[in-house]
């Protein structure tokens, strides 16, 4: 016979989990206390002041104002405190540390495709070393999905046409559920997988057991040439196009004389919708790549463009 599985609390396996759980427990105590208080008071009144009882029913003196103000103002301050606490943790969730490993995730009906920086791909599985911060850069090929690992207490919608991201640092080795939690069609409930958090040594062993593919950057560089990007975006090109060395994170002046930070979303838009944010001083001559390039290839090109910034001068010769 299958053992009866009953769990009442999810496992905590990321740096975010304790912070979220603390708020949760505080809310549980507060709300449980308030609910019990109301129940006890109401029950007491119901018994003491039941019809026919001998209780004193002389109407209380004075208006309700004092009482009303009390139970308006006290909740107000409690709520403000709760807001700041939870918002603070939330803000941290949206700010990944600089040393986070960037993993690209593509959702499609009904599977998850992950790609590590070294080019390794996984489907519906993700192997991570414990203690290393991870930032997921996610997009969808079709409808909205949502990358949810309950043990990490984090989730984020995965939206077609844009990048979204979430980050966490796994803190406890184990095997954890990955769910799609935004309804996405027939097999929504089968769009699930596992996240394996491993000790670094074990993770290295797992890595060694996998065939080593080209790194994401190398794939991106190849695509950069085969797709013809280098024909214009290279120093010796005949057509004038912006040089992309060190582009990532830079402030780019646009034709409408505003500045924009070149982040993942900007790079993506510039490839798919080149005329949306035209760089100042250049003509709108770049063709759109919308619908001609897969999400994975796009991710590789963006990873390559980001590497151009990091490695500086020596890349320029290529």
């Amino acid at each position: 016979m299958r053992p009866i599985l009953l769990s009442l609390f999810p496992s905590s396996a990321s740096n975010l989990a304790p912070a979220v759980d603390h708020i949760y427990f505080a809310l549980l105590i507060l709300c449980g206390g308030v609910a019990s208080l109301i129940a006890v008071v109401a029950l007491y009144f119901c018994i003491r002041y039941r019809q026919g009882s001998k209780a004193d029913r002389t109407p209380a003196q004075g208006g309700p104002l004092k009482l009303e103000l009390t139970w308006t103002i006290i909740p107000f301050f409690i709520f403000l405190a709760l807001f700041f606490w939870a918002a603070n943790v939330f803000f941290g969730m949206s700010r990944p540390p600089g040393n986070a490993t960037e993993i690209y995730v593509v959702g499609k009906q009904w599977m998850w495709k992950m790609q590590h920086p070294d080019g390794r791909r996984e489907i519906n599985e993700l192997h991570l070393p414990v203690g290393q911060p991870v930032r997921l850069i996610m997009t969808s090929q079709d409808v909205i999905h949502d990358f949810f690992v309950p043990a990490f207490r984090n989730k984020q919608d995965v939206v077609p046409g844009r990048y979204t991201s979430e980050w966490f640092t796994p803190t406890k080795p184990g095997k954890y559920h990955l769910f799609c939690s935004q309804y996405c069609g027939t097999d929504h409930s089968l769009m699930v997988g596992w996240v394996y958090v491993m000790e670094p040594a074990e993770h290295a062993k797992w890595l060694a057991g996998q065939p080593a593919p080209d790194s994401l950057i190398a794939t991106g560089e190849r695509a950069f040439r085969t797709r013809g990007c280098s024909g214009c975006h290279a120093p010796n090109a005949t057509l004038r196009a912006p040089l992309l060395d060190g582009i990532y994170g830079k402030q780019v002046p646009l034709a409408d004389s505003t500045l924009i930070t070149a982040d993942d979303q900007y790079l993506r838009d510039s490839i798919l919708l080149p005329n949306k944010q035209l760089t100042a001083g250049y003509q709108p001559i770049m063709p759109t790549y919308q619908g001609q390039i897969s999400e994975e290839e796009l991710n590789a090109i963006i990873a390559y463009l980001k590497s151009l910034g990091n490695e500086g001068e020596d890349k320029r010769e290529r």
């Binding site: 409408d256 919708l273 005329n275 949306k276 035209l278 709108p284 919308q290």
Partner: protein, 218 residues
Amino acid sequence: MSAATLPVRFEHQFDDPAQQRHAATLGMWIFLATEILFFGAMFLGYTAYRVYYPQAFAEASRHTLIAFGATNTAVLLISSTVMAFAVGAAGRNKSRPLATLLFVAAALGATFLVIKGFEYSREIHEGLLPGRHFRIDVADRMHAEMFFYIYWVVTGVHALHVTIGVILIAFFGFRAWFTDAFRDHDTPIELLGLYWHFVDIVWVFLFPLLYMIDRHTS
């Protein structure tokens, strides 16, 4: 009010004509508030995408036929003015002038629709109807198509409102001509006027938003 001395009609749930008038007027204003929210969602969509893609919207806007739009603005504004006179005539219990003014207002409304019809057919002919046959010569075709999608939806919904207005105004015109339904009972005309001015005001916003984006730079 002189209602106390005249035989007045009012529905059984009301106590007197003043109450009925109050109720009807309030009802109309609430209906118009609903309409504002109805159009408001479309204006929100327009605003969002115009902010995202100003270039595409400006270029697409130059493909609209501004002569049609400008003429129609004038037609509708005049119709609205005539309607204002009609409301005045109703207040003074002048049935024949009231009917005449209503017919003029309705005819101008119908003129608007005819002009809009010619404009639509020109646009379909030029391939400006979003869908498989959409063609336009701009850099960002996708968002130019979105501009025209919003253009068709919002002007279409507006045209539906104009059509309903024309039918109602003409119907009220016939009633004013052939019966004395509005003798000492001008509330319906006043409410019709409110509706017609609302339709007019929506167009006053649509015209610059759709036809005149960055025209001065071209």
